[in-house]
Symmetry: D2
Subunit: 465 residues, 4 copies
């Protein structure tokens, strides 16, 4: 063994620990002494970094010190610092206006110089400091987390907006999708990485290491995008089940005791969870790229796979349905109304329907549930394919997948019986199908005319067949 491994490990982790301590707000410096924000001293330090009198090399060293101090501050002190950056190190508006004015009236001979002057005037001095922070051992993560902090505060402090824009521009350039590496995550991955899946999973919470292991079993795949400078931090990750035929129930997939299937015989890959892991990268969209890369990867590795589809929630279904009914619009077909009336022993099917879905108790009564099955499935499909807002699907999950070029493949009854999902979607989940050959045209149709692609089965469902 190499005696160095430990120390490398310790160094990296010592840093990370300080990062977490800092982010968590413990007011400790390396020697344990409390350390507080002091506007005058901090401003002097920033000025030194920006002037770079000792050369850019030493300016970076000083920026790194400032960055480590930032991590040692508590949350209030960090806020002070962000406010200082946002308000004192921005663009010089007068200089900008003057240069804009000069550009507006520049002669052809001077226009290039005038343009360059505007360009310079548009770069806030703080951008240099933000860039200098990149020499911190976890510099990229530092800036991502700084933006996450700005995001948290920006609603009550609109003055942070220019800082937020600079951070976003910087991160958008550094997190260009071309820099991201797709890596498979398995049960042989490092524990400190797997631990983050547990922390970051946003769709179906991971309850334990056993739950996690089930999601990394032989009939599963998990992929994440990583940035080369944040090798231990997933940017976004996706969980996939390899099955035979479309999966219509999340319970089977999350059952830790179910035996693993045979990946080599699977014909379908079900994407049942996709989570953004970095709050500081909000607004940078990697989901579509991730799904497409994973589809390509799986197609290559497992040529028997023919179908790629999600198993997704329909978060806005009940809200839309209640709104529709509240507006007095009929939602049932005559046949449906009649069936429900019959099942409920009432004469007014619409009223019976409204009463039934008012709470979730119907799910425990097989007869009631059976009566609801047909209309709820049809209405779910209707919601997904017809409910629009600004030309886009009203359901945000639907909008994400349709924008990626997917199609509505199948709506599934009793797919997720958790109380929460019974409440928001009457237990429904939906498969969105990703067919590489159709993605572009679907995307174009959706983006242009708002056309929603769907399978024949969904079309038939809409027609009540």
């Amino acid at each position: 063994m190499t005696d160095e491994t430990p120390s490398r490990f310790d160094r990296a982790f010592g840093r990370l620990r300080r990062v977490w301590q800092g982010i968590a707000g413990k007011p400790t410096t390396e020697d344990g002494a409390p350390f507080r924000f002091d506007a005058r001293r901090v401003a002097a330090k920033i000025d030194e970094c920006l002037a770079a009198r000792g050369g850019e090399v030493s300016a970076r060293t000083q920026a790194a010190e400032l960055g480590e101090t930032y991590l040692a501050w508590n949350e209030r002190d960090r806020s002070e610092f962000l406010r200082l950056l946002a308000t004192h190190y921005g663009i010089d508006r007068d200089r900008l206006r003057a240069s804009a004015s000069a550009l507006a009236s520049a002669s052809e001979a001077d226009v290039a110089d005038a343009e360059a002057a505007v360009r310079r005037a548009l770069i806030a001095p703080r951008v240099r400091l933000l860039t200098q922070f990149n020499v911190l051992p976890q510099g990229v993560k530092f800036l991502v987390d700084m933006r996450a902090e700005v995001q948290r505060s920006i609603k009550r402090e609109p003055a942070l907006a220019p800082l937020e824009r600079d951070l976003k521009d910087l991160l958008a350039s550094w997190f260009d999708v071309g820099f991201l590496e797709l890596r498979r995550i398995t049960w042989t991955s490092p524990a400190h990485l797997l631990e983050k899946l547990i922390a970051y999973e946003a769709v179906h919470a991971i309850g334990s290491w056993t739950d996690l292991k089930n999601r990394l079993d032989f009939d599963r795949r998990c992929y994440a995008f990583f940035h080369p400078r944040m090798p231990d931090e997933p940017i976004i990750f996706i969980e996939v089940a390899l099955v035979q035929g479309l999966a219509g129930s999340i319970h089977a997939l999350l059952d830790e005791n179910a035996p693993a299937g045979d990946a080599a015989r699977a014909d379908t890959a079900i994407f049942y969870s996709i989570s953004n892991a970095q709050k500081g990268l909000v607004g940078l969209d990697f989901g579509g790229f991730l799904i497409k890369r994973v589809v390509e990867q799986l197609s290559h590795d497992l040529p028997r796979l023919k179908t790629f589809a999600t198993l997704s929630p329909i978060p806005g279904f009940r809200a839309w349905l209640e709104e529709t009914m509240g507006a007095g619009r009929p939602v049932l077909t005559a046949a449906e109304a009649q069936t429900i009336a019959g099942a409920a022993g009432q004469s007014d099917g619409a009223a019976a329907f409204a009463a039934l879905i008012a709470d979730e108790s119907w799910a425990e009564h097989p007869t009631q549930a059976e009566a609801l099955r047909v209309p709820i499935l049809r209405l779910g499909a209707t919601y997904l394919t017809e409910a629009k807002s600004g030309g886009r699907a009203r359901d945000r999950v639907a909008n994400f997948h349709l924008s990626n070029g997917a199609r509505v493949e199948r709506v599934n009854w009793m797919a997720n019986r958790s109380p929460e999902n019974l409440k928001r979607a009457f237990g429904l989940m939906v498969n969105y199908g990703y067919d590489l050959g159709e993605l572009e045209s679907n995307h174009e149709g959706y983006r242009g005319e708002g056309r929603v692609a769907m399978s024949p089965a969904v079309k038939a469902l809409l027609k009540g067949r």
Copy 2:
């Protein structure tokens, strides 16, 4: 990313899965059909492997098939196979005797040939088959596990002994300590490896992933020996706490909620657990090598470390004490007897002592506990340093460390209050000190004259000071 990683992973793990399935006794072959042991067919296959008519390359392929079949058998079938190997593929005794006889009377000119003939006669045919199994993807692990199975059955089936000896000889050669690699295990190690620590820990059971993470924290070290052909299987591992001063209580070390110490300031490394991970390697001793390598490694990485010591159980203490008392030998000094008599409000200190230690309730009564403290500590030291069996320390843990050249450093009161340890050692634990400069002479003194090395503090304790 490379699309290949997954498939390599799958292949390796698919194998392992089959291995586990096999070991676990599921009677499945690759295509799911049940497959049973058939002595005639198996013997024919073995004969083919040994004859190697199609060349050694193809003989190995056939041995691999046989090996995979073995893994698919249930436990009873595997036993049949082992019995077959043990009884039908051993040494030809008649040939051996004849060659021995020829050697005994060989002329000087013929002695070399006669010796070679004996040498050949001593190699059982099955050894070739066992070696051929090495081409299995997990061939070394296969043989290790086969020996573990033989070990399990050998008591009720003494006929397995020659097979056991051949396996041990083979593994002793392949597991020469020079082949083992020392690797540090951390929280960044693969989960499927960490999982094995949980499974194999033999001293202080690891209760959860949180418990495990605590043992891999910044102030801990964990090292294991690995064999190059079993890279995912620790052979033996050791857990170390970096502390200031000798640690005298196991509870502090195992407290998941205690904050991590500062490894860089530690002056003492406490080895608080060492576990053999492979039942199939019983009898091959790596513990001494592991401790010495870890002491060297830590000395190099953390030069502030000055003391290296264990925190070890004393499993045989109560048994010895009760035996001694049962034989009517006095165990208390006069002063001790008087103190205990006083504390118990009785006149006979020896009787009071015997009554007190009869169960573990004294541990909940501070006065009783305090009265026992001095005599129990002294008796513990006496047991460790004076109780012998065949010239060796009677306590098996003591014998292990003294053989390694360690010394009895300190006996610790209330070091492990678990009911089990109160029962077997009245709550005591002991530190064995590993001083690199003394190991050789201590070892020699112990091995030769049975001299037990001990610290001045322990000497003083023995003298009742």
Copy 3:
């Protein structure tokens, strides 16, 4: 072994091979057919990429195709493409002027929107395409090489300037020094990487693999910066010799037959070569960072090292001296003139000096050489420390190191006897000393007042002592 390694290798290299073929101008596409630039088709493809109608995912795919086509073009076709990008996909000047005008007169309420509009107007459409190229397997190298091509043509085609600026801005952001990884290069490094050292070495050409091996011997170090997305391409690299005392002759360092010294005993690290490897990164300065990182690294690894210095050429020495003499300024001290006059058997020392240095034949005559030694050393020091141009050292190598905060440590006689160096610097070389404790103040003094730091020895030399 993993069967995949080969294919990964092949894929990566297949790409690279096509890249090289492309750069080398072979007009082949993947199927071998010639493929020529067609402005209309190319513009249509670019428009499609920029419109991204099928979504950004598919736009990137199309950009990648365009990029691979570019690599398949010959040089003339590639030039056409670059011209197209430079002239048709730039900023819309009218829109820019209008937005600048609006900003100049915007009310306080509108100024943020007006600023945003200018910002948008300043981004040329081609920037999006350049970014999209980043998904190519060697996307970053692609852009670096594209900028190298632009650089080659820009003198005769000034219209490429805006494209050059966009490429530089993009690369400056992506090659922020915080992203670069320092890696040591040794004789155990991959051959295809070592091959590049041979190709890129810019100071002392590497003549053979034996020469290279000597530069990677036990008493040498070689470090390079790498970008995570160009792992096989050094950005800049430096060669270091570990010696005892300052090295004053390049010949000893480059002697392949000299025995390797003992790195562990060395007290001095001599940086004898530093080469930028990527023409497409001209203008982005990494040299200072590299030297400082290497000094830190070596200090950590080899604590006996006390001195860090270069052994550098003085390229402009003769030119300056001849210029000075041509201007009629005396260059010799009286004592020097007298000595030279004596050695030459002439009365006019200045004339004799001029005659002597007119060609390099003096170097073969020990007496002549000895007569020149003192004045040439002193004049060399004078040139380095006093000859200025625009407040900076006139010698470009001196300016680089002085800007980094180094000091003139020692001027070395007969340090490089190659005809070329005799010609330009009379055989002199200079050591620049890098003392971490002084770098900042030296840099500041040099940048501010143009103060040149120097060792006491050099000061004494200047005073003729």
Copy 4:
């Protein structure tokens, strides 16, 4: 970067350097002082290692010191040491005889103990020392090289034989083929490894790094077996060309200027060189395993490959032919004799033939060459398939491949025109075909009845068709 990499590198290489220095006979110890063999001191050290009084851990440390001393000795001193080991640390013959005698007459009850006693008596004490050397950093390589030294001396020093046997037994166990790893070697492999290919290539010498690069080009493959404890030392390696159709000329394959072919379109893999790299492993046969593994690997990676064949020399062809002719046996068919007589303008074809092949000048005369083509090809095939020695093919290369189960596929005219090959094989080379489906039966037929497998083409050639 990690600062540790360098030091690990240095350590490993520092060792290796000392190893090489030692092997090369430089009489230096670590501190540079000369160090000579001293039988008394060395024997004392050996005794200490074998007694292991300070424990096995410290015995290993002492063995390591002895091993490093060995490396520091010159060749003569090393020989003394080997002689000492061979003669003083062998089996105790008297004890062996006594134990053999006891075994021969042991009762059934005692036979197991008597057997164990013989077993122990058969293990020479030096075996323990040899095993202890395994803790040296390059311990396995150490023993391999020690055996190479023994091999060099054994002819003139038969007393080394028992030591040679012990070394071989030890290495045979440690180098079981199941431990060897197949690795592909490419132009991205470390230079210090590639350097060894140049050094070890035994069939077609590698003239330069350019020659080597050609052999690792896109249409080539190179594979080697490695031992996990000798990761930088190939055991045996093979060079493969991927071509279309059987390759019949070595010149095309070794032409550095020929353009690389397209591996993806190749249908044939030609093994044109296989070299054992470790003299100390002579007698352990890995060639058959290597070829089979490479065939499997290539079949998997490049499914278009249908044919696997060697391009091999026929070293014994001329010797056999001259012997045959010398014995007065006719070698030409009537038709052949007539043709040659005609071409030579002589009446006696046999005499003309003998005159023609007496030297190699015929190769420069197209008419002569053409006259020889048919008979030489037929005679080559005859030699390969019919000339036997002890039931095996007389040609040692043929015997190797036929033992592996290959068949004689095609004999090639003017396949290697080097003077050496014209001399020994009239320019012929032969393809041996490796068909996985036939290997076993071919092997069995060859081993049993000496049946030589051959292609229909070769059969036809033999029949003169």
